[in-house]
Symmetry: C2
């Protein structure tokens, strides 16, 4: 029975982290500069705290200096922005990341806009998104998760140019920038979302599917064109009495069905997930290199 | 024999200009402010000079004050930007438009970036494009030609939400923003370009086609789904010995074939063409209202 190649995001992410580590130490030796990443966490959501801890750990592993600001849940918008300004002006900081979601009394847009564009390693600033959308313009940073999706395609030798691609989901942080990236690489892109009547009509024609929806097992085997390449960004908990936690994580794509039809597919977990942090480290390194004009 | 409704851009553009004229005089009476549009023309391309003249005339007709700077072909980038800065700081100017193309020794990106975003009535600033791409963000201005396309759909009662739309072409000034606008209105959008292998496979499934390619009669009748709505942005000269000028203008869509299959279609000329200037006037009015906080 046919079986798709499994795209090993964990392995690729490790390769990228190793590459970043090598570059970081080269830079330190050559010009004495260590890239620095600042993370701002407001409130005490457990999941956010875990993400921040993981990012910190990942920085340490590759030699990037990490800075953090942990602010109480009831911080004002001004206080959060004051911390951002501090990092904007700190020459040891080359990347600034605001852990989302913010408490609901804080305006996310105002806070994200305060990050200076040269340090916007998340790539969420509208100026970066605008440049990503425009031909002949280059964003300073590309959002980490969609960049990770494209990096997986590249490292597995998947041709994008001239192919039909479908992106399911159009969020600012994954779907929309993923579609813009595929289009920049000359795929013909269709964007499917919650108002699309027959999503399967689009996916069935696609050579490349990127799914970033957040619906467990939405994409069935019958939705997939034989030989398609599938990047599954979704991370969805489903009940599982056999798991000690009572649940396990699955993607948007019905993996067991897809693996028989696709030519390549990312697993969940172990696919796109590990790529996000790897891309964040890579963006931080890029930023430090740019700021210090180090090639 | 079936015949599509002809979408009369000339008539709609006239309606919009009348609406703008009424608002302009209301504003003048209420707060004594007259909206102002500055146009910068570098060099002496005949077509550009004609466009600028038409814009000036259109401003006068609706009561918008027009300013212009005509700079010689050999102006430096700094000189052009100096004029833009002057208009940026001039409180009588609410919109600034740089007539493209610029002479080749001038960097278009640097010049366009110099227009302050509050007066970027062309909507070409990457910050405006970024906001257009992002959910939950609002651009200050939407580029005039694609805005005109959507306005025609609205005024003719064409439902966009949930429909399949194809945009042919992905330029910064027409195709790309048109696709973003359709997506904002909840169409499922596919963007076709020169690297797309079988463009007709996409158009045949589309309820709405916006074509902005610049290829005479590329979209044949057989490419069109019965009942589709077609917005033809293309303006292409074709030889015509019967015309006194030796040529006439046609769109990207084979009009004679399309009119038998589509449910509605814009003619060329007289479709999208007149809408561009109407939208420019409307953007200039919006800008003046915003700057003076006039509702
Ligand atoms: N590192 C990683 O691997 C990351 C993984 N994720 C995961 O990716 C998934 C998506 O995340 P995110 O983009 O932030 O999610 P959002 O909720 O912001 O966006 C979801 C998108 O999916 C669309 N959608 C929802 N339901 C359907 C449906 N039935 N059919 C088609 N489209 C639908 C929505 O459409 P509409 O716009 O119309 O509402 C929306 O555009 C989540 O599972 C998340 O956990 C996210 C970020 C990083
Ligand atoms: N007021 C009005 O009515 C206006 C009318 N226009 C007209 O609209 C047309 C497009 O203008 P503009 O967007 O500036 O043009 P551009 O030349 O900048 O862009 C043309 C686009 O069409 C794509 N394309 C070219 N050939 C093909 C093909 N064979 N199949 C599919 N796609 C193709 C190109 O693809 P790729 O990106 O791969 O190169 C590109 O994205 C022109 O005719 C212009 O005169 C323009 C502005 C205003």
């Amino acid at each position: 029975e046919a079986s798709a190649k499994v795209i090993d995001g964990k392995k690729v992410a490790k390769e990228i982290r190793d590459e970043v580590a090598a570059e970081v130490s080269k830079m330190k030796e050559a010009i004495g500069v260590v890239p620095g990443l600042a993370v701002i966490l407001v409130g005490d959501r457990k999941d956010s705290a875990t993400y921040v801890r993981n990012k910190k750990k990942a920085c340490e592993d590759v030699g990037i200096k990490s800075f953090d600001a942990r602010l109480p849940e009831d911080s004002t918008e001004e206080e959060v922005i004051k911390h951002i300004s501090g990092f904007n002006n700190d020459p040891a900081v080359h990347g600034i990341l605001v852990q989302l979601p913010l408490p609901s009394h804080i305006n996310e847009q105002n806070v994200l806009n305060a990050v200076c564009i040269e340090k916007d390693v998340d790539g969420f600033h509208p100026l970066n998104i605008g440049r990503l959308a425009m031909r002949g313009r280059e964003p300073l940073f590309v959002p980490c998760t969609p960049k990770g999706c494209i990096e997986l395609l590249h490292r597995y030798g998947v041709v994008i140019k001239g192919k039909r691609a479908v992106v399911i989901g159009r969020s600012n942080i994954v779907g929309m920038p993923a579609a813009l990236l595929l289009q920049r690489e000359d795929a013909t892109v269709s964007v499917v979302h919650s108002r699309t009547k027959n999503p399967e009509e689009f996916t069935r024609e696609a050579d490349i599917i990127i799914s970033a929806v957040g619906q467990a097992n939405m994409v069935k085997g019958s939705w997939i064109k034989p030989g398609a390449v599938i990047i599954d960004v979704g991370i969805n908990p489903v009940e599982d009495s056999k798991s000690p936690r009572g649940y396990r994580l699955v993607g948007d794509v019905c993996y067991d069905e897809a693996i028989k039809i696709a030519s390549a597919i990312t697993p969940v977990p172990g696919g796109v997930g590990p790529m996000t942090i790897a891309m964040l480290l890579s963006n931080t390194l890029t930023s430090a290199k740019r700021i210090h004009n180090f090639k």
